[in-house]
């Protein structure tokens, strides 16, 4: 009976169409949901959790797992270049607090927080106090881990510019088991020349070498570049001053210095773009420069 076969074919056809069309239709709907949820997507619960301790107790023994999940979200949300523009760094502090309350030995979370919490917006949260709280919590729970002292030192040095305390932190850290030699050296250098670009360069170089993931490495890199640029620009400014003294008037372009034998060629910044001389007679970054000078302010 033809009708029976037709019904079977029709059923197959309709089902197949529904499967394909349904799956395709899911895409815009999911996107709409994602848009509506916004930041709440990856880290909703953090905003509301009263404490990591309570969350840990509720997790019935899975604190480590939860900590890993929260840490993953932190990296996903704050560490991704693709999301960098949308990140609201003010949410980073509570996220890291809960993560480290769930797992006080998650060392990378402390390092991450130390850097991105102190960094000024838009690169970071600009909350050095929060960073200090985090690191102190880390040191309390991991007192012998020398790198946390390094992070503490970093916070005092870089953002708070409290060189005495920074040096103290490095010194204390240098006494912990396994500490590398540079800790002691840094302590001394900071005391002697805190704020000096060369000192800062070394500090960031250590962070660069120790970077545990892409975000941290890249972050250290752009800082190193900026510091190198600063050092280079200072040297160029000295040269400009010498030229002005010698020539009696300020240089308007670097060609003049080349002609005067003070330079071998047009100077380029660490990103490869040529410097220019600004309206105030001092060195400035060229238009094509990728150096983020403001990091070093």
């Amino acid at each position: 009976m033809p009708a029976a076969r037709e019904l079977k074919r029709l059923t197959r056809l309709v089902s197949g169409v529904l499967v394909v069309a349904g799956l395709a239709a899911l895409v815009p709907v999911q996107n709409r949901i994602d848009a509506e949820n916004g930041i709440y997507g990856p880290i909703a619960d953090v905003l509301y959790m009263p404490s990591g301790g309570l969350l840990g107790r509720l997790s019935l023994g899975n604190e480590g797992l939860l900590a890993a999940i929260y840490w993953t979200r932190a990296v996903q949300y704050f560490g991704s270049r693709s999301l960098a523009k949308q990140a609201r760094f003010e949410l980073l502090a509570p996220l890291l607090r809960i993560t480290t309350e769930l797992d006080p030995h998650l060392l990378i979370a402390y390092r991450f927080g130390a850097i991105f919490l102190t960094e000024k917006p838009p690169e970071g949260a600009g909350q050095p106090e929060a960073a200090l709280d985090l690191i102190r919590h880390g040191i309390v729970n991991n007192p012998a881990y020398w790198r946390l002292w390094q992070d503490l030192g970093f916070i005092y040095y870089w953002n708070l510019k409290d060189y005495r305390r920074a040096a103290q932190a490095y010194l204390l850290g240098s006494r912990q088991p396994g500490a590398l030699f540079f800790m002691k050296a840094m302590a001394a250098k900071i005391l002697a020349q805190g704020g000096d670009p060369a000192t800062s360069y070394e500090l960031w170089m250590q962070l660069y070498r120790q970077a545990e993931n892409e975000q941290l490495r890249r972050n250290a890199e752009i800082h190193l570049t900026a510091i190198r640029a600063t050092i280079g620009m200072k040297q160029l400014n000295d040269l400009l001053a010498r030229y002005q003294e010698a020539a009696g008037h300020p240089a308007k372009s670097f060609e003049e210095l080349v002609a005067a034998g003070l330079l071998r060629g047009i100077p380029v910044d660490p990103s490869g773009a040529p410097y220019r001389i600004g309206g105030d007679g001092k060195v400035a970054l060229g238009p094509r420069s990728k150096v983020l000078l403001y990091l070093v302010e």
Binding site: T11, S15, V19, L23, L26, S80, S82
Partner: protein, 258 residues
Amino acid sequence: MARIWSITWHTFKEAARDRVLYNLIVFALLMIGASILFGQISVGIEGIILVDLGLSSIAVFGVLMAILIGIGLVSKEIERRTIFNVLSKPVHRFEFILGKYFGLLLTLFVNTGVMAAGFYVALFYQKRSLGPEDLLPLGAIYFILLQFALVVAWALFFSCLSTPVLSAVFTFSIYVAGHFLGDLRFFGQETHSRLVSGVTTLLYYLLPNFADFDVITRTAHGEKISGVLFTANSLYALLYVTVLISAAVLVFEEKEFR
């Protein structure tokens, strides 16, 4: 059609009398009761804890129920050979699938109603009076029901393909995996491989995004869920369930019962 309704109703009757379900409901109610005690540990957050834990209990036990009865939808009928009784009668195969699905959904609906009633009793006991803000958990419960609709549909689909035990395992795995699709997509994007990134993005849209329905914590803190989210999630669930049921029908039409 009347036949689909009959299958729905009798599936419900059969499932609702299942001893295991009673036990699960009792556990859920116990959890809700316990969360009152829990809240008394920390001052100031009893209300939050009750809503948070209470709703989470409903969600977790409901999913367990969904999986346990869900696997009995088709694969158990095939194993126990009760399916011969139905399919030898003038019933279209797709009617069987639809009837079974709605029957199980009805069972979950009723069970959730019982658990929700327990929840509100606990809430009333704790707060002594209920206000309009206490309607918020109903919204969360609606989202939980949407989750159930999805889980059952998955259980039904797997049930057509494999044994009861495997169906349970697969369904549970999908449920867990469906909470981490965002992370999956992120990791795919961060590897600098177009292929991996493409695959993870495909999976992001293909696999069921259960995380969409997680509104319990927000609700516990008194945040309203936007109308857009209600509509969008309802639509998502509807579409996905349609996909799964259609796929189940496709598989089931070709199935032979030795």
